[in-house]
C-alpha cells in the first residue's frame, strides 16, 4: 500500500511538472507570434462550456467564419487575422482573468465578447483601462458600453428589447395582464423585466405578479403556483434557455396554458430540447430571423450551413457581425493603433450586417430593429419586426 501511495504521489508530481512546462511553452509561443508583423491578433472570450455553452460556441463559429472570409479576401492592410479564444466557463471572474491574460500576455489588438452582460461587465473595465477596443456581439445591458469609450456593441439594448416585447404583447397578442418571472442573479434578465414593466404599464397593461428565481434552480413550481393564482394571460420570462425550458415544462404541469415571452437569451437549440412540446406557442425577441429573405442574410446562412451544417442562431449572426464591423473599422482606420481603431469603430455608419444595418450612436450602441419569433414544432416562426 505504501508503495502505491508513494508511486501515486510521484505520478502526481510528474503530472504537475508536465502541466507547468506545457503552459510555459504555449505562452512563449503566443508572445513570439503576437509580435509578428504579418498578423492582427484578436482576443475572444466566450462561454464555450458551462450552462450557456451554446452561446459561446455559436458566437465563436460566427466569428471564425467572418475572419476566415476576411483572411481569404486578403485580410486588412496586408495582415491576416488570428483569433485567440479563451473559455470563461460562464463565470464573470473567469472572464476577467481571461481578458487580463489576452491583453497582457497575448498583446491583442482588439477584443470580442461576451454574450452575457454579467460577463461583459466584468471584462469591459479591464479593456478600458488598457485601452484595448472591445466589441461585444450580444450583451444587451445598457451598462456595458457605459464602462468607457473603448467599449462598443453591435446588438440592440435591453430598454429596446423589453419595449419590443411589451409592444408585441399589447398590439399583436392583445393582452392586458402579464406575470413576470425574472432571474434575479442576472443583470440581463433584471434589465429586461424592468424595461418590459415600464413600457407595458405605460401602455395601459397590468403586471399582475412579479416573481423571481436564481439561475441554477430546477424547481419553479412554487413561483408558478403563485403566478397561476393571479390568472395572467402570458408570462414574461427573460431568462436563459436552460431554465426557461424547465419553467415551460413545469408551467404546463401546473395547467398554466398561457404563452411565455422572452428575449434573445432563449435563442438556443437546447430550448426546444429541454422544453419539448411545452415551450411551443411561446414568443421571444431576437436579433434576426433565418426566414428573412434579404440577400445578406441568405448568403450568410448558406455559407454558415456549408461550414457547420446547421442553420445559424441569432448569436452566431451577432458574432459574425461583430467580427465584420471590427475588420471594417480596421480597414478605414489610418493605422492599427488602438486609438485610431477606437475612433474608426465609433464612426461605423450604415454597415450592412446580417442582423440589420448598424450605425453606432454617441453611446456606442447601434440603433436597429428587432424581430419577434414564435416557437413552433420544428423551428421558430417569424412574427413581426419592431423598429426602434
Amino acid at each position: 500500500m505504501k508503495k502505491l501511495t508513494r508511486f501515486s504521489a510521484l505520478a502526481l508530481t510528474l503530472l504537475a511538472i508536465a502541466g507547468c512546462t506545457k503552459k510555459d511553452t504555449t505562452t512563449t509561443n503566443t508572445n513570439s507570434t503576437a509580435a509578428s508583423a504579418t498578423e492582427i491578433v484578436v482576443g475572444e472570450v466566450g462561454s464555450m462550456t458551462g450552462s450557456e455553452a451554446t452561446f459561446g460556441t455559436s458566437t465563436h463559429q460566427g466569428i471564425e467564419l467572418a475572419f476566415e472570409q476576411i483572411n481569404a479576401a486578403g485580410g486588412v492592410k496586408g495582415k491576416k487575422f488570428r483569433v485567440i479564444t479563451l473559455d470563461d466557463q460562464g463565470k464573470p471572474d473567469e472572464a476577467a482573468t481571461a481578458v487580463t491574460k489576452l491583453i497582457t500576455q497575448d498583446k491583442i489588438a482588439a477584443l470580442l465578447g461576451e454574450v452575457a452582460s454579467s460577463r461583459s461587465l466584468a471584462m469591459a473595465p479591464i479593456a478600458q483601462a488598457h485601452g484595448v477596443p472591445m466589441i461585444t456581439p450580444s450583451s444587451t445591458n445598457p451598462k456595458v458600453t457605459e464602462q468607457g469609450d473603448y467599449i462598443f456593441r453591435v446588438c440592440f439594448i435591453d430598454p429596446f428589447q423589453g419595449t419590443v416585447m411589451a409592444k408585441f404583447a399589447k398590439e399583436n397578442l392583445k393582452i392586458k395582464n402579464v406575470a413576470i418571472l425574472r432571474d434575479v442573479k442576472n443583470d440581463y434578465s433584471v434589465g429586461l423585466a424592468d424595461f418590459f414593466t415600464q413600457t407595458f404599464t405605460k401602455n395601459g397593461g397590468t403586471i399582475v405578479v412579479d416573481q423571481s428565481y436564481s439561475a441554477g434552480d430546477m424547481d419553479f413550481k412554487s413561483q408558478l403556483t403563485a403566478i397561476r393564482a393571479k390568472k395572467p394571460e402570458a408570462i414574461y420570462v427573460p431568462g436563459y434557455y436552460t431554465e426557461v425550458g424547465l419553467i415551460a415544462r413545469q408551467a404546463k404541469e401546473l395547467g398554466l396554458n398561457v404563452p411565455l415571452m422572452g428575449g434573445d437569451g432563449w435563442d438556443s437549440p437546447k430550448l426546444t430540447e429541454i422544453g419539448g412540446k411545452s415551450i411551443e406557442g411561446s414568443f421571444f425577441s431576437n436579433h434576426y430571423s433565418p426566414e428573412d429573405q434579404s440577400p445578406v442574410v441568405q448568403k450568410f446562412i448558406a455559407e454558415y450551413k456549408t461550414k457547420y451544417g446547421v442553420i445559424p442562431d441569432g448569436l452566431a449572426a451577432m458574432g459574425y457581425d461583430a467580427a465584420k464591423v471590427l475588420a471594417d473599422a480596421m480597414t478605414r482606420a489610418p493605422d492599427l493603433n488602438s486609438t485610431s481603431v477606437k475612433a474608426a469603430i465609433a464612426a461605423t455608419k450604415e454597415y450592412p450586417g446580417v442582423t440589420g444595418v448598424i450605425t453606432l450612436n454617441e453611446h456606442r450602441d447601434p440603433v436597429k430593429s428587432a424581430v419577434v419569433l414564435k416557437v413552433a414544432a420544428g423551428g421558430y416562426k417569424y412574427q413581426t419586426t419592431v423598429k426602434p
Partner: protein, 300 residues
C-alpha cells in the same frame, strides 16, 4: 386555499427528492461517522449513466416501465461500483487517521467527480431522455399533481421501509449496526468490518443512482455540477432529522421541501438556498442530535 394545497403538494414532491439523496447520506454517516460529501456527485453520475444507457438503447423511442427499470438498474449498479471504488481507494486507507482527514478527502473526492464530470461529459446541460411517462391524470380541478412525483414519493417511502428492514431484521443489518458501534470490537467478534462498510457504501451509492435517474425524469436538465446543491440540502435534511437515522432523513427532507416551497411561493424566492443553511445552524444550536436523533439511537 387551492394555492396553499398546491404549495403543499409541490413541497412534498420536492422533499421526496431530497429524501432519496438524504437516505444514502445518513446510512454512510451512521456506520462511518463520515460526511460523504461525494454523495451528491454520485447522484449526478447516476443521472449521466441513466442518460447514456437510454441513448445507447434508444429507450426514449419506446417509453415503457421496462425502459425505466433498465436505466434504474444500470444507474444503481454503476453507482454501487463507483461507491465501492471511492470507499476502497479514498477512504479505506484513512480508516485509522483522524476524522478530519477523511472529511477533507471527501471534499476532494467530490470536487474530483464534479470536474472530471465536466471534462468527460462536457459542462453544458444535457437533456435527460424521457423514457417513462404516466398518462394518468392526477388533477383535482385547479390542483395539479405530476404522477411521476407521486411515484418518487412512493419510492422514497418504500426504500425507507426496505432500509429499515435491512438494518433491523437481517444479518447484514446486524453486522452494520455492530460495525457502527465499534469497528474494532465488531472485528473481534468475527464480523468482516471492511466488507460491511463496503456494502453500506454500495447500498448508499445505489440509492443515489436511483435518485439521479428519477430526478432526471422530472427535471430533464442534467449537468456535472447538478449534485452539489441538492447534495448539500440532502445533508441538511439528514442533520435535521438526526444524522444516522433513516426515518429522520426522510422526515427532515420533507420538512425542508415543504418549507422551501412555502417560502418561495409566498414571496421570498431569493432566500431559497439560505433557508436550508439557516435551518442547519438553528438545529445545530438548539438540538444538535436532530429531531429523531438521541444518544441511544443505533446508528447505521
Amino acid at each position: 386555499m387551492i394555492e396553499f394545497v398546491q404549495h403543499l403538494v409541490n413541497g412534498l414532491s420536492l422533499g421526496a427528492i431530497y429524501a432519496l439523496i438524504a437516505l444514502g447520506y445518513t446510512m454512510v454517516f451512521g456506520i462511518l461517522q463520515l460526511i460523504n460529501f461525494a454523495h451528491g456527485d454520485v447522484y449526478m453520475l447516476g443521472a449521466f449513466i441513466g442518460m447514456y444507457t437510454s441513448r445507447a438503447f434508444h429507450l426514449a423511442d419506446h417509453p415503457s416501465v421496462w425502459a425505466l427499470l433498465l436505466i434504474l438498474f444500470t444507474a444503481m449498479t454503476g453507482c454501487a461500483i463507483v461507491g465501492f471504488l471511492i470507499e476502497r481507494i479514498a477512504y479505506r486507507p484513512l480508516r485509522k487517521s483522524p476524522r478530519i482527514n477523511l472529511l477533507i478527502t471527501a471534499v476532494g473526492v467530490s470536487l474530483f467527480l464534479e470536474f472530471s464530470g465536466q471534462l468527460v461529459f462536457g459542462a453544458d446541460p444535457k437533456f435527460f431522455p424521457q423514457v417513462f411517462s404516466i398518462n394518468a391524470d392526477f388533477s383535482f380541478g385547479e390542483l395539479k399533481i405530476n404522477p411521476l412525483q407521486v411515484l418518487v414519493f412512493g419510492i422514497s417511502i418504500t426504500l425507507m421501509t426496505i432500509l429499515q428492514t435491512i438494518i433491523y431484521k437481517t444479518r447484514a443489518g446486524r453486522a452494520m449496526r455492530a460495525a457502527s458501534f465499534s469497528h474494532d470490537l465488531a472485528s473481534l467478534m468475527g464480523i468482516p468490518t471492511d466488507r460491511v462498510i463496503s456494502f453500506t457504501f454500495m447500498l448508499g451509492s445505489a440509492l443515489a443512482g436511483a435518485a439521479g435517474v428519477l430526478v432526471g425524469l422530472i427535471y430533464p436538465k442534467i449537468e456535472p455540477l447538478m449534485g452539489s446543491m441538492p447534495g448539500l440540502k440532502a445533508f441538511v435534511a439528514a442533520v435535521l432529522g438526526g444524522i444516522g437515522n433513516v426515518t429522520g432523513a426522510v422526515v427532515g427532507a420533507l420538512i425542508l421541501g415543504l418549507s422551501e416551497s412555502f417560502l418561495v411561493g409566498y414571496g421570498y424566492p431569493t432566500f431559497r438556498d439560505a433557508l436550508a443553511f439557516a435551518l442547519l445552524i438553528l438545529i445545530l444550536l438548539f438540538k444538535p442530535t436532530g429531531l429523531f436523533g438521541s444518544k441511544r439511537t443505533e446508528k447505521v
